[in-house]
Subunit: 393 residues, 4 copies
């Protein structure tokens, strides 16, 4: 007796999510097996192959069919940003639990609509900020929560890649504001979420954005360069309660492939992490200095007692990026099966909305050249019924 | 129409191998789907749960049933070392292709028997030296093969862990010579295989072994300490044609969890790799020095053109240790489906035998206190029919 | 026949500068020997000992005596920031060449006064931004200059320390605005200078500053906590011509001791450096990627052909932080001996002034909550007569 | 009133040693100033310039003049290995304290002669194993001494460089056995000394040596290639009391410039260090694991309480390789001024002799192809009168 899952989107994100569902079924099964029922993609030729490969029972080029499919009990939206609100609102209308890739909407307003609909529907909802499910990040959260770092003073994160650095990279949807909402700002909103998760809510932001390449080749092959109207990079400074945060994102940071660097400095200790060394957390405590042996500890987060590790491999055998999807889906499906909100370790649509508010504020600050107050206006009492997980995870 | 696979062994290695088969089926399917037919484990209570979790159709506590199962077309032996020869010889007797965990046998003689049987059977055989399937290692092999490093002068590798460092670790089968053959020497024979794969055949070895803890608690709970009769650590120096190699393995290297460090120095360049940073290869070439900018390049092996990467994630998103099993099984199953030997990038029983010869020589050198010549006496013309892969992989 | 040098200031900076002069005299002598004539410090008991230890002929508690000393031909001001303008202006009045520690003045106005006086005096002047004299930084400058990185798109730097993180650290002059001008902003103006040196002039800045600890113990021992009126940390985003820069400085970044991290990303390549690994420059070029072996090269800048290295040790033997003072003084003294401005690789008072302008803009932006245009108004034709060095340095 | 020092040797080692003496005089003066009296070098044209630059009062091409010079009270031998025994024995004959570069003699027999003479003379003697004076190494010694690591189980060190990797490197004295004694074995005997200092005495060794390039150009310019009769590389495994050690040295390890890597694993903790990151010590303790945060701490050894640091720079400002010479000379001169043996933290001629015994055993083992027992036969009661330093250093 399975739980039917439908996918909107058939690109490499769909592969990652499907891999997670199969892994759960075979390595850490839940009370119900996740059944890959239907998948929607834009191009019939491509989606058919993907469906076969990933093990979906059926495919379509019309996402409405997936949402409406009676065997689809849960909808996951892994499509480009302009195909988030439509399917999600339709699924919520039908009372189906939803998991949506980040950014939730193309801007805060769209995200707010989705959040409101999710609350109205009263079903489980999650925004796929998967880095919360990196064992090293969960351990970081535990360290912060333990008070070992004292009061947080600095949060800094940079998400650096270089895939858009060449002017020969085609003008796909990620370079069109109408489809993506923004460029680096929204695409790297993972670090906005990590800031909120680890260091707290931002109160104000001041920022700059930059576009290095104004036109790019038409991927349709017209030979005409097409205009780019989103940012390639941004840098922001945020004020939190008693702390200062810096965020930077760039698609044109030559040499970086998966450079998601994150650091927290507290009054008593610090943390450091980089996605390219996914399983490692660096932890400093002032207490260690008393004996003349202070220094960041390089903790390889693969020990049996570490978050998420109990069903994986032996110590020292690292997990891949894909493991975060396994952890994320398992937590989400558990909430679905228990018919409750996701735990406060998992990003909900509220978190998706709040990240969008911050992203909008970054863009507004850059445009206005001034500090912008950040206000979350999602109303309600969003935490009601939310599970506070006991123990370590 | 699937290909039936049977597992001997139901521990964490079985999990790793099963995960690989499911991943292949769903991410990079072959012409036939791998069917997980039957699994054998020692304890009925444990193996039943594992079978259910991993998706096996049936389970047993008698490996003979798995081997004899008519739906099992391929046998994978993932059991302790003393349960390698028995099942493998039985499977070969029935003409079934076999994949066996390392070390192939408990000593060279046992491994030789298995190699001979495999040749007689004329079926596909592989020894699970999975690190050959790390993208960074395959890239290393390509770099060596390209001549970019010039003549190899040094190979050095150390496999360092600390799981056995405490005297409270129980005396399981890995500490009994009759069951394991040896301690660190055989368990870490991965680095013997990497040396042969990347730097060539050893001609002579001189070595020392060490045991730090002589008795360990009875895991059966008798309260009586039981004697340990294998090595905890070893260090060896080997002579290759024109090169010097050092190998070291320890289960008592405090602080190391998965420290498999490997380096090659050639007359024109060098390579460096460490399992704890699995996806990274460090590459130095003297040519880079000409412009005053010589230095090891830290290559993140996650680009589309890199070995094995085409069906995985986007650049910068790292693979886990488990990905090596996916690559290994895919290569093995392809050979099975084509009814041919594994390619010369994959370890066969011949490679398993040769590693065992080197391990035996390490132990003999340590005992005799003298240099030991290494002689492979497997006879035959082992490469006949072996596929030399074209292109990069 | 020597060149008489006088020091204003007798703290640890005086030790660093004196060490440099002795090293030059004994390892890389100039046409004239630097003679350590006189040193001024606040406390008679302390300065007497320092003078003896460092080899000064005489000492005083009145800086005017040093400036006026007829045997003092060059004045170096290494005192707290509020004792910069006084001695420097007096020395310039007497036509003596001057080297002044950073920040040049407590604000741009004070720095401007010093710059104007230096121009009027027509003598050699230098601001001690010593990191320009790190071999790895000079190599970075050469790489940028060679065009190998293409167009600069990102500059990011952070100067992170934790010495002020504890509230028990006393309220010394660095915490008083009237004496220091600012806190982290001015103290870490090294990174402002490195940005200008490596990436170009900033056009606008938007920033935040933060103070974590408002009162600190009276170092005089009154037992009364004294107020702090400077920043402990700041973060700034700057717009350069076509590039985005981020600067961050903190005295409260727990765990960091000498974390001066700097990175440049260009359209064709990148550079990375950290003071804690002083002799190492990481260099990436897109060209290296063509062969599938792209990655940051970790260049140990100790080769004979590297900047400044010819009179030091053999390759692989690293230089200390103090070596930057040797290089800095040697360049400055050569300019003095040739009676010319310092080369464009060395910071002059103009550079000191410009850094002060940027620092003031950072503070103003934080206060106003808006983007501030940066305008240098030093007038004149400052580069006139400036030596453009040939070759590599 | 100074203490007259004479140098035998005028190459880059002489520069390093002279720099140390000047630094002591000016930064951390002793009760008597070190006077650089006389220096001997082979080539008149070269030594005259060096003498002037380094500040020696006089120079000569005949080392006997330096030794006999009545103003030379201490003799430092920094010449090639074949010019160690002669000057040292002559100096001891005159009752002058001596500091000799490593290796002490070309073999154990020569070293023994020098040790015997030193004992007979009853003066202070030191062998310049300067790495004992790296702050991070001294801290390592303290950590080992504190028992924090438990019982030592592994010591591993490799000294890797690539300066001799090209066949175009000329056949200088380092490639002639009659002048150097050996190649990599003796030249990198630093790691033999570090093993003895940190992990204890070796009891037996088994080793291999290798020569990659048999002929090299005549540096005299004859155009005839000259034969090389020493090793380019070696690898050795040593048995200590209850521990296993591996040593490796190579001049042909392409890509390495100053790769002196050292690691100690004990039953309770571990240490790691690399000369290329001179000021950093990595420290692991099992105790840190109890809280799930085990990992090597990266200790930047620049804090005020760290060994040797009190007279240097502020935290985070790294020391260069040359600082080890300052510490070494200061300790040696203090012993000379107190007319006592060097402390047990400094290598004496006994340590020089013992290192030579180990080097000879490495060469013998490689030649014989068997394990060699290591026996120190220096007789006497060498520690008599040796100062055991209190406190941290």
């Amino acid at each position: 007796l399975g739980l039917g899952v439908g996918f909107i989107g058939s690109g490499w994100m769909a592969r990652s999510h499907a891999h997670a569902l199969h892994s759960i079924n075979h390595l850490a099964p839940l009370e119900k097996t996740a059944e890959l029922v239907a998948i929607a993609g834009r191009r019939a030729d491509q989606v058919a192959g993907v469906a076969r490969e990933l093990g979906f029972a059926r495919w379509t080029t019309d996402w409405r069919q997936v949402v409406a499919d009676p065997e689809v009990e849960v909808v996951a939206d892994l499509a480009p940003n302009d195909v988030h609100a439509g399917p999600i609102l339709a699924a919520l209308e039908l009372g189906k639990p939803v998991l949506c890739e980040k950014p939730l909407g193309r801007d805060a307003q769209e995200a707010r609509t989705m959040l409101d609909a999710a609350r109205t529907a009263g079903v489980t909802h999650a925004c796929a900020f998967n880095y919360r499910f990196v064992p090293a990040i969960r351990l970081a959260k535990e360290v912060v929560g333990s008070g070992r770092l004292g009061r947080i003073r600095h949060f800094r994160a940079a998400y650096l890649q270089d895939w858009a650095g060449s002017p020969e990279v085609g003008r796909n949807w990620r370079f069109e504001r109408s489809r993506s909402g923004s460029g680096a700002v929204g695409d790297y909103s993972h670090i906005v979420d990590l800031m909120r998760y680890l260091a707290g809510e931002p109160r104000a932001v001041t920022a700059e954005v930059e576009r290095f390449i104004d036109h790019r080749p038409d991927p349709g092959g017209s030979g005409q360069p097409l205009p780019v109207d989103v940012d390639d990079a941004y840098a922001a400074v945020l004020r939190l309660d008693g702390a200062l945060a810096t965020l930077e994102g760039s698609r044109c940071a030559t040499g970086w492939k998966g450079g998601q660097l994150m650091e927290v400095n507290g009054s008593e200790g610090s943390l450091r992490w980089n996605m390219e060394d996914l399983n490692r957390l660096h932890v400093f405590t002032r207490k260690d200095e008393e004996e003349g042996l202070g220094g960041f500890r390089d903790v390889l987060v693969t020990e049996p007692g570490h978050p998420f590790l109990e069903r994986w491999w032996a110590p020292g055998h690292i997990l891949g990026w894909d493991a975060t999807f396994v952890h994320q889906w398992r937590a989400f499906l558990q909430a679905v099966l228990e018919n409750r909100p996701v735990s406060d370790h998992q990003a909900s649509f509220q978190d998706g909305y709040r990240a969008a508010v911050v992203c909008d504020a970054i863009l507004a600050s850059a445009q206005q050249g001034s500090r912008i107050e950040i206000r979350f206006e999602e109303g309600g009492s969003p935490q009601a019924g939310r599970k506070r997980e006991g123990g370590l995870r």
